[in-house]
Symmetry: C2
Subunit: 314 residues, 2 copies
């Protein structure tokens, strides 16, 4: 989803910061959708980055900027340990090594997405930029390991890496999925589409959010900022909105009215409540804010972005 | 050095905690020295743990306890990137995977050595147990990555891991080496052996030390403690002695007199001064102390341990 939206935005802008884009190469395990009406050449490759040699082929054209978004998500990385390490750690390492093995003058900006899952409980109410990474999942472990690797390779001058730790993205477009976090989006999305939604946790649950539009903004800013400002600390917790489920519901009410809110059915789910209780609630993402990364103002804006970018466009 | 001393101690004790040792298997890339007069069976294997399959052979006998000490040291890991990642990360991962792939009932205690090199500047005067890991070297990166992996595998129940972050070991026995930290040992060792030593930094440089005897004590305690006390935080910064070079020299004076101290020649070395200025100076290793890990009392004790364990035994 983030990759597709990033490509749409690049096609619309035709440039990255001040630089016009001359060529966009898409690589995915499934056939990537090329953007319509892109003002630059686009090619697509179906390939598995975790296969040796694939990454070398990708960097053979010496792209100036590489967005590395591929990941096995949290639930799947926990269910299938080997797949999680293969995709989230090994494939990233193969990409970084392919870049390292290029001629010395080649040092592309590489933007990689990480997650607040690199942090584990116990959490303070607000997590600052100096909080230690003690992930409570294999997914978070794999992300924390790649953060370290990318930082080391950047320090050694093989590439110019920036890692952005994304908040939970809401409101996600599309169908409900089975992720434990899915309800954060579906309790807004389904009612705004005239459908019922299930809320499995209590309304005082607090979590950390960014809209898909903000996430794309983070990626573009990470691609264009002066990385000299980062020093050797290449991993940035992104700013976001700390909101409770009650805040979400009030934001929904302001946009969709009582009728929308009545679509939410409270069905407590002990398993999801337990999982979510181990998640962070808020961050003080000072470094990223000082570097110019911008979050949504509040959950109202997150709902508005969903309406503008998903519903109004239909 | 740590491995050899550990084996000597195990042979002397004949037991690990309350449990008599029935079998000791040594594995190293060079022919390991079997201990003399061990009251248990000892076998030795020359093998490279980074070669696929080797780790599976090692765990085939289902050892109850595995000490994993092998490492490419800091300077070499910086000079030879591929070797560092291969030995410090890949070999450890192969060992952990070999254990994971065993039958479900097998969950050995695995003790792995890490380093204070997982921490990077800027440092507070005293680094506590919640300090984040931002290594400034490839060696520290590799160690921090294996810490994460071992923690994840322990959380998932594949093994019962304990990582101990060792202080700089002093006074190291043997010949001077080329490590940037070598002078911390040589300014004590060489004078006590009637030889001259070079001090490349100023006497107010402060660093974090443990004797070889303490290091072996850490390993034995890590092998026998109740790991239920660790929860999911499997990595422990070991206690140590925070001492300046001046403290070292005073401790040397008390043991070896003025004559020994006069053997130290001050020859400032800008490169070593710069490297050492990026090293931590002191830790508050509260978790490890509360778990019963015991450090030397002061640098006097560290010198005394060298005299007792190295000089008196000759």
């Amino acid at each position: 989803m983030v990759g597709r939206k990033l490509v749409e935005r690049l096609a619309r802008d035709g440039r990255l910061g001040a630089e016009p884009i001359s060529q966009l190469s898409l690589v995915d395990v499934g056939a990537p959708d090329p953007p319509r009406d892109a003002p630059f050449a686009v090619d697509s490759t179906v390939a598995d980055l975790a296969e040796p040699g694939v990454a070398n082929g990708i960097v053979a054209a010496r792209p100036d900027v590489v967005f590395h978004l591929a990941a096995v998500v949290s639930g799947e990385a926990e269910a299938d340990l080997e797949k999680g390490y293969r995709v989230n750690l090994d494939a990233t390492r193969l990409l970084l090594d392919a870049i390292r093995e290029c001629d010395e003058g080649y040092c592309p900006r590489l933007i990689s997405t990480s997650s607040i899952a690199v942090f584990g409980p116990p959490f303070p109410d607000v997590i600052d930029d100096d909080h230690l990474t003690t992930p409570a999942t294999s997914y978070g472990t794999q992300k924390a390991m790649t953060e370290l690797l990318l930082s080391d390779y950047s320090r050694r001058g093989f590439l110019d890496g920036v890692v952005i730790r994304l908040p939970t993205i809401a409101v996600r477009p599309g169908k409900p999925n089975l992720a434990a976090s899915g309800f954060f989006s579906s309790i807004v999305r389904e009612p705004l589409n005239g459908q019922d939604a299930v809320l499995p946790v209590s309304t005082d649950v607090r979590h950390w959010f960014a809209s898909p539009r903000s996430a794309i903004g983070f990626l573009l800013h990470a691609a264009t900022l002066d990385s000299g400002q980062l020093g050797d600390r290449r991993c940035l917790t992104m700013p976001g909105v700390s909101a409770t489920v009650a805040d979400e519901i009030e934001a929904l009410r302001r946009v969709g009215g009582e009728e929308a809110v009545r679509r939410i059915r409270h069905e407590p789910d002990e398993t999801i409540m337990r999982i979510v209780s181990g998640w962070p609630r808020a961050f003080d993402a000072r470094r990223a804010r000082d570097l110019g990364f911008q979050a949504d103002a509040d959950f109202d804006e997150i709902v508005r972005v969903y309406v503008e970018d998903e519903l109004d466009r239909r």
